[in-house]
């Protein structure tokens, strides 16, 4: 157990280190004089000098990295020369929105996937199972950005409900009902994508579990079918299901980016796309670093969780 933890931790540190180098090096992918590209319209001698100092551009590249990483560790991701704001403040304002959308979407996905998977597994190849099987398979082939376009098209425009106009986002502190309403469409879109995965994983998992001998033993105790399903059959799948959720977090974030952009919700994705469009590379770099490290940490957490919580894995 301790050995496992140490090995995972070393891997984690190694990967975060490599990610930091990669993020740092991104600026050097820019063709020509990076300062000119980064400064864009604000390319004045004064700004240029400031940027040189900020990035330590006159020093050798490995020293530049240490200057940069020291700043990052202090929470200083640099200052955008285009919007004149600190990158960290942009990230800090946007990140909670992403977290909220993802949490909402996962709640929705689980709330729908679990009962439906249970019903399907109770009668495999029954009418409900067949319909859900075909439906989920079709949904599997619809990317989230197509889904959101179709949702906006049919729900908002045809039915005239929901907030879809630009800057319809309402902050949580201002009005929580309005906030939920403005985030409902992105949460539903991401939720549908996750639902398909969870439903299919859980359904086949449950069908396999219900064949197990311990289910027959539970039946032979004379306890109700409902209790067998929830207490005995669902539990072994729960850990695996959480694992699936953890693995999907990267794709989920990326889908969230596009959905935010389409609905003008000022999350990380919106800021990222705006910054790419404006060539505001320092902001892009900051967001990439934060998101990458975040995804790695979440994956690490879920990995640890599934390995420690699962009683089927022997602990030495």
């Amino acid at each position: 157990m301790v050995r496992y933890l140490v090995r995972r931790l070393i891997l984690l540190i190694g990967v975060v280190f490599i990610v930091s180098i990669g993020s740092f090096y991104l600026l050097h992918l820019l063709p020509g004089d990076p300062t000119a590209v980064i400064l864009g319209t604000g390319d004045t001698p004064a700004n240029k000098a400031k940027l040189f100092a900020q990035l330590g551009l006159n020093k050798p590249i490995w020293e530049q990295y240490f200057v940069w990483i020291r700043n990052v560790l202090r929470g200083n991701l640099g200052t955008s020369f285009i919007s004149q704001t600190s990158v960290w403040s942009v990230v800090k304002a946007a990140l909670p929105i992403d977290v909220e959308i993802i949490v909402l979407s996962q709640i929705l996905a689980f709330l729908v996937a679990i009962p439906l998977a249970i019903r399907s597994a109770r009668r495999p190849d029954g009418p409900l199972d067949r319909i859900l099987g075909a439906g989920s398979f079709t949904l599997l082939s619809i990317p989230s950005f197509v889904l959101i376009v179709l949702l906006v098209l049919f729900v908002s425009i045809k039915l005239g409900v929901g907030h879809t106009g630009p800057s319809s986002y309402v902050s949580l502190s201002a009005d929580w009902i309005g906030n939920l309403e403005s985030l409902s469409l992105p949460a539903i879109t991401l939720g549908i994508g996750s639902f398909v995965v969870y439903y299919r994983v859980l359904r086949s998992d449950l069908i396999a579990t219900l064949q197990e001998e311990f289910i027959t033993l539970a039946r032979s105790k004379g306890i109700s079918a409902r209790r067998i399903m929830w207490r005995h059959a669902l539990r072994p799948s729960a850990v695996a299901l959480c694992g699936t959720a953890g693995v999907n977090i990267g794709g989920l974030l990326a889908s969230g980016f596009i959905v935010q952009y389409l609905l003008s919700i000022p999350g990380l994705g919106y800021e990222l796309i705006e910054s790419v469009g404006l060539s505001d590379y320092l902001v892009v770099q900051g967001i990439v670093l934060v998101v990458c490290v975040g995804v790695i940490l979440i994956n690490f957490g879920f990995d640890l969780l599934t390995n420690i919580v699962d009683p089927r894995i022997r602990r030495e």
Partner: protein, 333 residues
């Protein structure tokens, strides 16, 4: 109910599975009775239908693609044709089951104590503390050391023998009158097997239960059962008191099973006896005796007409064979 002297009465029980290749008669007309505080052994090769029989008696057969006819009266309760809900009333409290493989018959993600006292809390409405106390008692009864600490462990942390003890404790929790043990020692080390069988014996006495012991190993049932059923191809081919079946068996198949038991008295390095041929294809049973293709004594009639169960000298002893072995006192010594 009390006027019926027998705990279990099985009459012409048939279990037929609908398979893509046609109907498969896993159990093809079995009748027997079982009294209280009695131990019955059901013996046969794998595929002889003994496991399906034990599950059909409990009503635990798969719910789909299966047809059950005949009658199983358990303390006056008709199991055949009862709904799952009706059967739930006897499951656990009147009849309980132990399974072959303790590695798969316990829920891997549930603490063992919870699996034992589940029936107490759900079926008998015991509160959490009382149920836990009883579960610890049961763990002690089945011989698990430091039971209070073991209450909270997961199955993964126990050895195979310990797990089978836990399974037995689970079955005993509802104080059933009948315990169906389906190959309870097959998945275990030889040294553990005897311990588990002795444990079954002792809890049977303590709890005044009847036990049906299903096994492929006649050696297992020799000293622990009062009566034996020998099954072949879904049918009873010999039934009788353990003593009679061992000493004066008439069916060649029973003899073959007995010969297959390695004996300590044999000289070392002597060849192990195996039954020649393969178990029959249940989808395509011969018209005559199902054992005929493998039987050294088979004659023409064996191949065209199925023998019925005929009574032997001693009452309760019966066999199905056209060419029974001569009565030889002490065939197995």
């Amino acid at each position: 109910m009390t006027d019926h002297p027998k705990l279990l009465v099985v009459k012409d029980l048939r279990t037929t599975f609908a398979t893509p290749s046609g109907p498969l008669p896993a159990v093809g007309g079995v009748s027997f009775e079982l009294g209280t505080n009695e131990t019955l052994g059901i013996v046969g090769e794998s595929g002889s239908g003994k496991t399906v029989l034990s599950r059909t008696i409990m009503g635990l057969q798969p719910r789909r693609n299966v047809e059950v006819t005949g009658s199983v009266l358990l303390k006056g309760f008709e199991v055949v044709g009862a709904s799952e809900k009706e059967k739930r009333s006897i499951w656990g409290l009147e009849v309980a089951m132990i399974f072959q493989d303790p590695m798969t018959s316990l829920n891997p993600v549930m603490r063992i104590g919870k699996q034992i006292d589940e029936i107490l809390r759900v079926r008998q409405g015991m509160d959490r503390r009382a149920a836990k106390a009883r579960a610890v008692e049961l763990l002690e009864l089945v011989g698990i050391p430091s039971p209070a600490e073991r209450y909270g462990v997961f199955p993964r942390e126990l050895s195979g023998g310990m797990r089978q003890r836990v399974v037995i404790a689970t079955a005993l929790a509802g104080s059933p009158q009948l315990l169906m043990a389906d190959e309870p020692t097959t998945g275990l080390d030889v040294t553990i097997q005897a311990q588990i069988l002795n444990l079954l014996d002792s809890v049977k006495e303590q709890m005044k239960m009847s036990v049906v012991l299903v096994t492929h190993d006649l050696g297992v049932v020799a000293t622990r059962t009062s009566r034996i059923i020998v099954m072949y191809a879904g049918r009873i081919v010999e039934i009788g008191s353990t003593r009679e079946v061992f000493r004066r068996h008439r069916m060649p198949y029973t003899r073959a099973l007995l010969d297959a038991i390695p004996k300590v008295s044999n000289p070392s390095h002597s060849r192990l006896v195996a039954i020649p041929g393969r178990p029959p294809n249940l989808l395509d049973l011969p018209t005559g005796c199902a054992f005929a293709p493998r039987c050294a004594y088979a004659t023409d009639i064996c191949r065209v007409q199925r023998p019925r169960l005929e009574p032997a000298e001693e009452s309760g002893h019966a066999f199905a064979c056209w060419n029974p072995l001569p009565v030889a006192e002490g065939a197995l010594t």
